[in-house]
């Protein structure tokens, strides 16, 4: 080993087809090792804020819906504070902020029940529109894909992260469509027409 600052991040490898054995064994049907799977919900009873339900799918470049996708989300509380190690202070104790979601093994649909996060400051002090960070892994994905869910009924016009996306029509791929009060749709497209914006962030 050279100087300590020569250390390189461990290279990624695909999660493969059997990721559920490790990360959601109970949902797979391998009960008996862990009492429950981690990351069942990003909130607990009593979490402050607007309850929202987001559903979606993950689709590949051939138009096929993935049945083996695993998604993790990370979000702030209703005031825009992250749980745990946010330097600005403590978050709502009923918001854990993190969830692990899997596509349904038959339909490929995934579902997230949470609260809408608040605005979070960008490093230069401007504020980012309310968003949920998303990380997608599956067989065939060599390095976890990072994207964000924004909300159709929020003012997204001044978000410095959305502004970094050059083509305005591509920004639309990050905006969850409202399908009813408190209900949103967010389909992730890995490749091709309507390809979701993924970040190197």
């Amino acid at each position: 080993m050279g100087r300590l600052d020569d250390l390189k991040e461990t290279p990624s490898q695909t999660a493969g087809p059997y990721v559920h054995i490790g990360l959601t064994p109970n949902k797979l049907g391998n009960a008996g090792v862990y009492p429950v799977d981690l990351g069942e919900s990003p909130i607990r009873d009593g979490a402050q804020g607007e309850a929202v339900t987001i559903t979606g799918t993950v689709r590949d470049g051939a138009g096929m819906i993935l049945r083996d996708a695993l998604i993790e989300i990370w979000q702030a509380d209703a005031d825009g504070i992250y749980p745990g190690n946010d330097p600005r202070g403590a978050a709502d104790p009923n918001v854990t902020g993190w969830a692990r979601i899997i596509a349904d093994f038959d339909s490929g649909e995934w579902l997230l029940n949470t609260i809408k996060p608040g605005r979070v400051p960008y490093p230069d002090g401007r504020s980012m529109a309310p968003h949920i960070s998303v990380w997608v892994v599956a067989r065939g994905i060599n390095l976890g894909l990072q994207t964000r869910i924004y909300f159709e009924d929020e003012d997204n016009s001044a978000c410095p992260v959305l502004a970094r996306i050059e083509q305005p029509e591509r920004r639309e791929t990050l905006i969850a469509r409202q399908t009813g009060p408190g209900h949103y749709r967010f389909d992730i497209v890995l490749q091709g027409d309507g390809e979701t914006v993924f970040f190197d962030i």
Partner: protein
């Protein structure tokens, strides 16, 4: 059980993340690994520096982890799994060489015959009734972790006509920021299948592949009990201000 209430962290857990070296990681589109062809984004990623959304991340507490969770030999039925007994251990550090304590490490693997406990795996090798193939633990104060398991078997998979996966253990690792989230695979020193594997070959640089190969560690082997392999994991580092460093030392 979800993760614990947030516990206070120190300044080491803050600060902008170093950019990822995308040439060191596998590219998204790697036709030698066929499934990547339709699952790789075709547009360039949108690059920007990390924000609070990536610099913060979930924390887990010891009470989310059971006593046998890191013992894959016993954690399914309490009766021992069949196979070569090994300790698989290492440290989770960042690119500045600092051990990262209290972060969740989860693993999954095939049994000693190369068969996964999964409805989609129909390989000839039998299931072991005492092996589920999953384990997890939190890193200790210095970033160290340890699993007791059996060495997984190699297995064939449909890619090329005769593709085989080398012996490997899948690793999922959290850091202190969601932008550090990483899934990878650990291989075993001396396995001739490593150099033939289409998934290994998604990585372009020899040194990067070598960093996924765990060497035999006779210092940690237990006589008359088990061998040991060492797999250290490096997560993205963080920029730190002088002020924060000083606060750390006080």
């Amino acid at each position: 059980m979800t993760q614990d209430s947030p516990h206070p962290r120190n300044s080491v857990d803050r600060g902008a993340l170093y950019p990822r070296d995308r040439d060191w990681h596998p590219a998204a589109y790697t036709p030698g690994y066929k499934t990547s062809v339709t699952r790789a984004p075709s547009r360039p990623l949108v690059a920007l520096g990390s924000t609070l959304s990536e610099e913060t991340g979930p924390a887990f507490g010891q009470n989310a982890i059971g006593d046998l969770d890191n013992n894959l030999i016993l954690n399914f039925t309490g009766q021992p799994a069949i196979g070569e007994r090994i300790i698989l251990h290492g440290r989770v550090v960042d690119e500045n060489g600092r051990g990262i304590p209290n972060v969740l490490v989860e693993i999954w693997q095939a049994n000693a015959g190369g068969r996964y406990r999964h409805k989609k795996d129909g390989y000839l090798a039998p299931l072991d009734p005492n092996f589920a193939g999953c384990g997890r633990c939190l890193t200790a104060w210095d970033g160290s972790y340890e699993f007791l398991t059996v060495r997984p078997g190699a297995y064939p998979w449909p890619n090329d006509v005769n593709s085989w996966r080398p012996m490997h253990v899948h690793f999922s690792v959290f850091g202190t920021g969601f932008g550090q989230r990483l899934i990878t695979q650990c291989y075993f020193q001396g396995d001739p299948l490593i150099d033939l594997c289409p998934i290994v070959k998604t990585i372009g640089q020899r040194k990067a592949i070598e960093s996924l190969v765990a060497p035999l560690d006779m210092n940690r082997a237990i006589p008359m009990d088990c061998l040991a392999y060492q797999f250290d994991i490096v997560l993205r580092g963080r920029r730190q201000s002088v002020f924060e460093n000083r606060m750390e030392g006080m």
